[in-house]
Symmetry: C2
Subunit: 104 residues, 2 copies
Amino acid sequence: MKARRDVFQAIADPTRRAIIGLLAQQTLTLNTVAENFSMSQPAISKHMRILTECGLVIIVKQGRERHCTASFKALEEVAQWAEQYRRFWTDRLDTLEQLLNEEE
Amino acid sequence: MKARRDVFQAIADPTRRAIIGLLAQQTLTLNTVAENFSMSQPAISKHMRILTECGLVIIVKQGRERHCTASFKALEEVAQWAEQYRRFWTDRLDTLEQLLNEEE
DNA sequence: TATTTGCTAAACCAAACGGTTATACATACT
DNA sequence: AGTATGTATAACCGTTTGGTTTAGCAAATA
């Protein structure tokens, strides 16, 4: 049964975003990932669990090692959510601009 | 002095994303926003504070009312972060696809 | 002036978060 | 067989989160 974590919540943590950045370059074992951070292996294990629960990382067991691969499909939801508002922030007649101009 | 909240953390909460969705359509007073949710007005006040601290909402005092306007510029960071990985998830030879195919 | 309205602030609370250390365990090495 | 390695799990802990209720206050209304 999948916990079906929210991807928005998963990427809220800077360490997890950094893990995704690392894994974007190459698949790494859990320990190798952990070496890139100044925190314990169990801490990284926990982050990795959250990332897998929302589908951002896939773990393949290979012997005693865990090969972690980033899976970016889940980021589509995030990109789309943010992008739907793009017209607002690229529009020069944006309400924000108006407000700022009034106050300056 | 701005608290400079992390926008990723701000949008992690579904209620806050819903507030942004509401304000994308029109500027609303704090109370009007609160009426759209099944929680107390102080709770919405707190969410609104977080949203303003990271620049996602701008509040203009008008008499005793607070007019809340969404400001989407801060979402650019989110969109760009997610989009940098787009090539990975649109690529059919994506590593995820490979992994899934191997397992099925 | 008294009352209502819109909102903030304070105090509180349970649950979740993000980390730790210690332990356990399966796999690989000698 | 014994040891070392890679990882998971459990127990624990302080802080943060997301909500509540109550009280307070300034602005609008009667």
